[in-house]
Subunit: 238 residues, 2 copies
DNA sequence: GTTGCGGCTTGACGCAAATCAAACGCGAAA
DNA sequence: TTTCGCGTTTGATTTGCGTCAAGCCGCAAC
């Protein structure tokens, strides 16, 4: 397993750097890291390629070496709910290792990507002998939990316009004043992430133009971060 | 801290039984358990009492000994999004221990409740010496992650009627045929959990009556579980 | 150049859920 | 008993978002 991958199943120095920066591995020594990682676990994925499907037996967690991996839930009718999109240095599917062995979501590369898988069993053994990995994993899962709680809050309390505004502010990474950011994916995918239709996303952008937001192609300019923040925090009844 | 609680700050035999059944502690021996738990961590809470507020420094995780604890997110405008409600034997706020030390949600007793707190530091030390606790915690966090992913999927893909139907099915715990269940909270709180208004919840129940659902007070009868399941799985376009 | 295609925008329309508000239990207290 | 308060139901109305569909733009293939 993990052998039949595409082009370059090798760990480049860049990959090593990415791995050593990742939240769940950064506390490990080079020796530990080498013991844990199996270079055969590296996989290259073309755009649109599925890493695993919803319901597949969960045998590994993954680290993104490069590209973007989309986790989503697909219901029997074929509708898709995007749970999250992970980039280089992030890990996902830690949780699946514990959940009766099935992935509850599907993972798809939305751009050409490279990921490294770590077999559950190898990891479990390593955790048993080095508890600090456990802390790192729990921290990583905690972050995922918070991301999901945030998402639920947004879905329940914010309008489509506010969700778009908040998404743009998030791209600006908390900077103040006027910011220019580039959209990380196609607009239709962002729309799905935010739980709305492409048409609604488009209209939302048109409406928040009057709050100082300009979007051209995949470049977005926020004229006044504070004003936009205020709009997001504005509650329903005023 | 933990000392100034109300009536009976003691661990009853019932409490012990609850703790030993709980997911994150069930793998521990009595000796380990005794070493980890501090009876002074037990707190009794009246209905409406806050265990902690959103933004409070996170110094402990909690186990519910009895009652119900609601985790929710409140935005600056005062609107509330209910994240989850925990009952006896469940644990929460594991994640907060790792997240820069602030609770991202508020915790409130919605009925008279008893909880046991476990100090982060004590737990961290215990985890370092007994990795199996780490596995139990990760399993627990995994379950929380799945709960949240499910919730996101429901919010994004299901109508109000379907969410209510699925909620009732969940109360029936997967039983088939005709089931009678009791609603675990006030209807207005269930509505909030499902991300809708009380009025909408009431109307949803009225509408799914024709699918064989009868609700009187806090008793709900599902006439045909399979039919209701089919309704929930029905996707938008048909 | 032309054609075709995929993603984006825009408009017209319908519907599901929110809103506002009134009325209806129903249990607790007087 | 009456009264109060709170949660629930119900009705009338508004609105936000989805749906359907047409048109637009940029781009690659021809």
């Amino acid at each position: 397993m993990g052998q039949h991958c595409d082009s370059r199943p090798l760990l480049t120095p860049d990959d090593w750097a990415t791995l050593k920066r990742s939240a769940i591995l950064r506390d490990l020594s080079d020796t530990d890291l080498a013991a844990l990682l199996d270079p055969r676990g590296v996989r290259s994925l073309e755009r649109g390629h599925l890493l695993f499907q919803q319901g597949d037996p969960a045998r590994a967690l993954f680290l993104v070496l490069g590209g973007q991996i989309k986790l989503s839930r697909i219901n029997p009718g074929g509708d898709e709910a995007v749970v999250h999109i992970y980039g280089a240095g992030e890990s996902f599917a830690e949780a699946a290792m514990f959940l009766g062995g099935r992935y509850p979501v599907a993972a798809e590369a939305i751009v050409p990507s490279r990921v490294m898988s770590i077999e559950s069993e190898a990891l479990r053994r390593k955790v048993a002998e080095r508890p600090e990995i456990a802390f790192a994993m729990m921290a990583s899962m905690s972050r995922h939990l918070k991301v999901l709680v945030d998402q639920i809050e947004r879905m329940k309390l914010l309008s489509a316009d506010q969700r778009v505004a908040e998404f743009l502010l998030g791209l600006g990474a908390g900077k103040a004043g006027a910011v220019t950011v580039s959209l990380p994916h196609e607009k239709s995918l962002i729309a799905k992430q935010l739980g709305m239709k492409p048409a609604t996303f488009s209209r939302a952008i048109a409406r928040i133009r009057e709050l100082g937001v300009e979007v051209n192609g995949n470049q977005a300019r926020i004229g006044d971060t504070a004003a936009l923040r205020a709009f997001v925090n504005r509650s329903a009844e005023d």
